[in-house]
Symmetry: none
Subunit: 464 residues, 2 copies
């Protein structure tokens, strides 16, 4: 049955590209309130698309952006088929700095075998693969090989604030046997690309940290050297976040971490990871980080801490001789399996308050956290995915972890008791979160085909 579906996907690919371009032209930037109407429009686009694939669809209002749930009727597949919950997000990162885009971020453009637009790879292009697989099954066979629930949210890029309570409130409607997520990348090894099954993710903890002092910007001649400058003081505090082994100095930060197993360390060593290429591809000149770990280990299984932005005082052209009334930083942590965001958040705030800031005052805003996750690779679902991937890509999947965060994956486990299969089609040069984001057309095609095959294999898995 799959052959006809795959043939249909090939024949229909120009229309699939048109549909994706339509989706990408909606600037659904979730973090900026100015785009709220566009975000709602993107939710509607997802709802219409899922309905067109034969799903019963509801667009749920939330205190934030809408959550779209589509559900295939229960009679659509055999009674003992597992139900697949597909998760993705229709929101995108802000396009800034817009002037660095070769073509406008919300005018999708094909060149050099890729589609360029904000969200092309993260995550609109990837969820479009799944939509196209549903559509093809529906068009060719009139039904899906396995019952499916699609849960598509609009706040992934701003912390998925609404999603966790939503999943908790709708746990019965969302009940499933396995979750499929397409928001990760392929493995690019020395012998070419392989589809990857990502079995571990880091968590996240994000803060806005401001330090305030004078009630206005004051003249740096009149006041320079006589009271604490919040910009200088903030910089010094941030500098103290790391020791000379480049480990985070917050007490207890490393206490709960799962160690890397000897088996994992061996397997990761055999992946042929090209560290130099990985770093050089974005202009990094040398590896750097926590002492005693390789780049892959630092990225997949060790926590990190980053200043994501600095602001406050004068940042324009030329000179302005002020002591700013405040300065701020975005500070975030990637947490490795078994760190707890709540515990680390408390430890970080306690650490900030323990720093001497000479009369300045903290204003600390927590902007969301997410648990890290690691799942078993020894399951019938991983076996089904392995067969599907072998079928469409001609080679077996590679088992990897990821340094980034998909917060809901931990929530699915906690709330629904269900593991996730993370199978994505992005490439490392897709420039997600950066100007000129793109999604390769061959990755798009492989994604559509693999999701179509995966639906069949997951349906078959229960009957083996």
């Amino acid at each position: 049955m799959l052959d006809a579906v795959l043939q249909h996907l090939t024949d229909d690919s120009p229309h699939a590209l048109d549909r994706l371009c339509q989706f990408l032209s909606i600037p659904s930037v979730s973090t900026d309130p100015a785009y709220a109407a566009d975000v709602a429009r993107a939710a509607q686009w997802v709802a219409d698309t899922l309905r067109d694939c034969g799903l019963d669809v509801a667009v749920h209002r939330t205190a934030g952006h809408p959550i779209v749930v589509g559900r295939s009727p229960d009679h659509a597949a055999s009674a003992n088929s597992p139900r697949v919950l597909f998760y993705g997000h229709y929101d995108v990162q802000p396009p800034d700095p817009v002037e660095l885009w070769t073509t406008p971020p919300f005018e999708p453009t094909v060149r050099d075998g890729a589609l360029f637009a904000r969200g092309a790879s993260d995550d609109k292009g990837q969820i479009a693969c799944f939509f196209e697989a549903l559509r093809a099954w529906k068009r060719v066979h009139g039904r899906l090989p396995v019952p499916v629930t699609a849960l598509i949210e609009g706040e992934e890029e701003c912390g998925s604030i609404q999603l966790q309570p939503f999943v908790r409130a709708h746990r019965d409607a969302l009940r499933a046997d396995i979750v499929v997520v397409s928001d990760t990348g392929m493995w690019e090894g020395p012998d070419g690309r392989s589809v990857a099954i990502t079995y571990g993710l880091r968590g996240l903890l994000y803060f806005d940290v401001q330090l305030h002092h004078a009630d206005r910007d004051v003249h740096s001649g009149v006041y320079g050297g006589v009271a604490a400058n919040p910009a200088t003081t903030l910089a010094a505090v941030l500098g103290r976040l790391f020791d000379d082994r480049h480990r985070v100095t917050i007490p207890g930060f490393y206490d709960d971490l799962l160690p890397i197993s000897p088996d994992e360390r061996r397997r990761w060593g055999e992946l042929g990871f090209d560290e130099a290429l990985f770093l050089r591809s974005v202009g990094f000149t040398q590896p750097f980080g926590e002492s005693g770990y390789s780049t892959l280990e630092r990225r997949w299984a060790r926590p990190s801490c980053d200043v994501n932005g600095l602001y406050g005082g004068y940042g324009g052209p030329g000179a302005k001789t002020i002591i700013p009334s405040f300065a701020g930083a975005k500070v975030s942590f990637r947490l490795a399996p078994n760190q707890s965001p709540a515990k680390i958040a408390e430890a970080f705030k306690r650490w900030l308050h323990s720093q001497d800031v000479y009369g300045c005052r903290w204003k600390i805003t927590e902007l969301g956290g997410a648990d890290p996750v690691v799942v078993s690779t020894d399951s019938p679902y991983v076996a089904a995915a392995t067969r599907a991937i072998q079928r469409t890509s001609g080679r077996p999947p590679v088992l990897i972890r990821e340094g980034a965060t998909i917060p809901i994956v931990a929530d699915f486990k906690k709330t629904l008791g269900v593991d996730s299969l993370l199978i994505g089609f992005g490439l490392s040069d897709d420039r997600i979160h950066a100007p000129n984001e793109k999604f390769n057309l061959d990755c798009f095609a492989l994604g559509c085909r693999t999701h179509a095959a995966l639906l069949e294999e997951l349906g078959a898995a229960a009957n083996r």
Copy 2:
């Protein structure tokens, strides 16, 4: 002879106020090209006024705004009289935010014993004091007691770019024995206000400092912990600018500094400086700075280093999970007498390049420097000013320094070889650079009288 001049100033004061109001009603905002014609009109007003006081006047065009030079004929005073070069500026700060003004910024209004208008204190009201003194001498005695050159520029509020080359090009025409500047304030001590002679100023050195790494902003999940983050690294470097005694760590930074003499330390201690009020008036909660010095010493005679602004990466609302491709800071130094801006600039750049930045690259831009200045208080000119101030204010002047910078004062010393007397009549609540700027009418009257007396005393000084 002075008595008759002072009497004339008293009798003529309503007309003096009218003239100042006329001057203040010209919106000579130098930094905004939209006001260029008004700036030119203000220059013309100054020229007409100086001519009316008997000076030969030239309005010099420059690449920026005009510079007005007025010169009394050499035969106007006795041959061995010193020539006085008076410096001031006719341009003003922008009036924004206009909506916070009680009366419009360019409609001068008297209330509560003060004249409210943009430029009332900085610097039109203060240079008007000098103009009125010239006028009174001319009206009453037909001549000035000392030869005078007036140099009035129109770019002080936007960097005085044209002034230094102008002074160098006209060094013969501007030759003088002493410079008088009225752009500073009175001393407000526990026993009331005193006219101050400001005999020291700090210099300035200003940098834009950027640290670059990846060639784009990259995903903090994918790259967090594996290469140096320029925002984190810049913060750490800025933090290392100070040691635990809050002294600047740049090697050689303090080498050339003039120490504070025991006599100065004693005199400053007797000034009754209200440190708590000074800090509290802008919302600072506690004194802080280089160990071993008082607030007044830190402000007047010790250098400072400030981060004037931080930028780079994401600084908007909410979270954006990037490692920025670069981060920047405005970093400036107030230099104390005898530090050299060129030498400190070299030392700072060398220090930055000596920091380990793990593959990041510096982009350092120098945005100007100005020498610090300190003049001897043991001179016939200071003695003359002391007598004049005692005569008109009924109390001796207070000898103070200032933490801010007036770059041209050092240039007068370097280019013309001449010291400056800084005698101003502003008050700390004049709100210069802010809405509702004002100049007290009694300060205006005292300024006119003191300049009249100062002209006589300076003339007499050479004959003692």
